[in-house]
């Protein structure tokens, strides 16, 4: 679901700077988040993504810059006066209250509601997250997944303009995490509230988000939709962080580029993100190249090499192939088609690849 770019942004961050003493946590963040969007802040730990989320929630003040929510300047507004609600990483379920009291916690301020209306809202919210009938349980009698659902219900019952999720799935096991990912997407579509998710898990961000901002060292490195982020990473850091990429030394001269192991090609053939001169770096994803088995032919280009490592995954096999003229082996992922043998280490291999899948990066970055 992608929205027209001219939609008035719900959240507008301008020139956000945040210092903790000497430490520069956020370095000039400009960001627009659209209404109804599922937006992710993705990055390694310490990149400032959680700080940015807490800035939107109001738990962290900014050293410079403005936070606008729904057209109103919220830069100096405390969290209890902001139209945002948060699902905390630890879920922050009140241990002294029952499930229903937890979910109804924020409704006490709503003087327009009587007790019966509040109870109905609490029950509806529990129903929405699949916890109908759990209202009278104590908060300590819940599993991790259930606590997460209570935290969601507690935030959503207040109908915030923005729901902030701070690594909400990191404490769950793999199966539960996948289930909750699907459920979060369903919930988001159902309620139509803007979700902002903080995560260090690139897969989670790709699966769930409409748009993703990748952050490094307090800056947004790239802001794009999931597919664009994967296919056209803006620099080497983003390419490495999102999925896997093989990097090969390359050298540009004129309108041609020579990539170690792959050979010579025209710049115009590449999916180039950086035009440059001299020594640089080229990259391609493991699934964009294939190993040719005996008798197979291809219309793609072919590079020669030797299989140096085989990792068998059941449905997939990862091969490390040392190409001629390149010391660093490249990783190739192959689907294990029925009847096809798994190659052994030391086998001579032919690699079919296409220049269109090769990205050229600025040297170093």
């Amino acid at each position: 679901m992608s929205l027209a770019p001219e939609t008035e942004p719900l959240i507008r961050l301008r020139g956000i700077q945040k210092y903790y003493g000497e430490y520069h946590a956020l370095r000039g963040i400009d960001l627009d988040i659209r209404p109804g969007e599922f937006f992710s802040l993705l990055g390694p730990s310490g990149c400032g993504k959680t700080t940015l989320l807490r800035t939107i929630a109001g738990f962290e003040g900014v050293s410079e810059g403005t936070v606008t929510l729904g057209g109103q300047d919220m830069t100096r507004v405390p969290p209890n006066k902001r139209p945002t609600n948060m699902v905390f990483q630890s879920y922050a379920i009140f241990p002294h209250l029952s499930v229903a009291q937890n979910v109804g916690f924020g409704l006490r301020k709503r003087s327009d509601l009587n007790a019966a209306a509040r109870q109905t809202m609490v029950e509806d919210a529990l129903d929405m997250v699949g916890l109908d009938g759990y209202g009278s349980r104590g908060a300590n009698a819940l599993s991790g997944g259930q606590r997460q659902r209570v935290a969601l219900a507690r935030a959503l019952v207040l109908r915030p303009k923005v729901l902030l999720l701070d690594e909400p799935l990191s404490a769950l096991d793999k199966k539960m995490r996948e289930q909750m990912q699907v459920e979060l997407i369903r919930l988001q579509r159902q309620v139509g509230i803007t979700f902002i998710l903080v995560t260090h898990d690139q897969e989670e961000a790709l699966v769930m988000s409409d748009r993703i901002a990748v952050m490094f060292e307090g800056e947004i490195a790239q802001l794009a939709e999931a597919e664009a982020l994967y296919r056209r990473p803006i620099d080497r850091r983003v390419a490495e962080f999102i999925g896997t990429m093989n990097f090969l030394p390359a050298s540009v001269s004129g309108d041609r580029v020579t990539v170690a192991g792959l050979g010579d090609m025209a710049l115009s053939e590449l999916q180039s993100t950086a035009t440059t001169k001299g020594d640089t770096v080229a990259g391609f994803r493991p699934e964009t190249a294939t190993l040719l088995f005996e008798g197979q032919t291809t219309s793609d280009r072919v590079a020669e090499g030797t299989v140096s490592e085989v990792v068998y995954f059941g449905d997939m096999t990862y091969y490390d192939v040392t190409l001629e003229g390149c010391e660093q082996p490249v990783r190739i992922s192959m689907r294990n088609v029925f009847g096809r043998p798994v190659l052994e280490i030391g086998t001579r291999a032919r690699l079919a690849w296409s220049p269109g899948a090769v990205t050229l990066f600025r040297p170093g970055g």
Binding site: A57, G58, F59, P78, P79, N80, T84, N85, M86, F88, Q89, S90, A92, F94, P95, H96, L97, S98, Q101, F105, G106, R108, K109, R154, A155, L158
Partner: protein
Amino acid sequence: MNQDSKRGLTLIAPPLAYALALLAGPMLAIVLFSFWTQDYLTINRTLSLKNYAEALSDPFYRAIMGRSLVVSGSVTVITVLLAFPVAYYVSFRVRPDRKSLWLFLITIPFWTSYLLRIFLWKVMLGYNGVVNSALTGLGLRDEPLTWLLYNANSVVLTLSHAFAPFAILPIFVALEKIDRSLLEASRDLGENAFTTFFRVTLPLAAPGVVAALLIVFIPTVGDYVTPAQVGGPNGMMIANVIQAQFRDLNNAPLGAALSVVAMLIVTVIALGTVWLARRLSRGT
């Protein structure tokens, strides 16, 4: 009995025997004495409720018991009320690496003996004491104040000071255990700092507060050193009377009965406090 519990019992046998000999034994002796009667120099060992009748009906004992409860109740309330902000400050405001230093400073009064601290209060509050010298020296008063020492107020003051760390530490521990994200969650859900305190912080600190109330109340009801030293005749408490029965008045059975009555009253109040706190902290 399985192997594990046998081994456990063997392990705790020495302290258990010690505790039984020095706690349960004397307790039983006290209870037994309380049903006997003093017959001038000898003890009449026929069981009777005469001592209890006297302990509960004599207006003097009732007044002293009542005063003990009021003094100790005041000490408890004052100490816990003053201890809470200190514990809160150390837990919430002091930098994590400075907390042990603060706790260390709080326990410094324990480096001097209880008796010495009481004498120091006498020095502070006495007729020629620090407070009076200061007041007269500064010309604020012509005559030294006489109501500072030897009354119930000085007992409350001395005991509150002596028991402050006992109240601060359990409250501090309870506050430390509160997950700070709960306070943020409360802010996030629309409560301000003030209402968050009453809806989240205080209910979660309740176990520590109850522990502090009991730790201060139970021993202070039975304290006899402080009232004996700074209480004067109007600051006398039940333990002083019990001591007098055992020693000066040579009526151990009555002293025993007064002890049992005092213990029962304290037990009932303690259980009532726990029950009330449970009810209050459950749900808001």
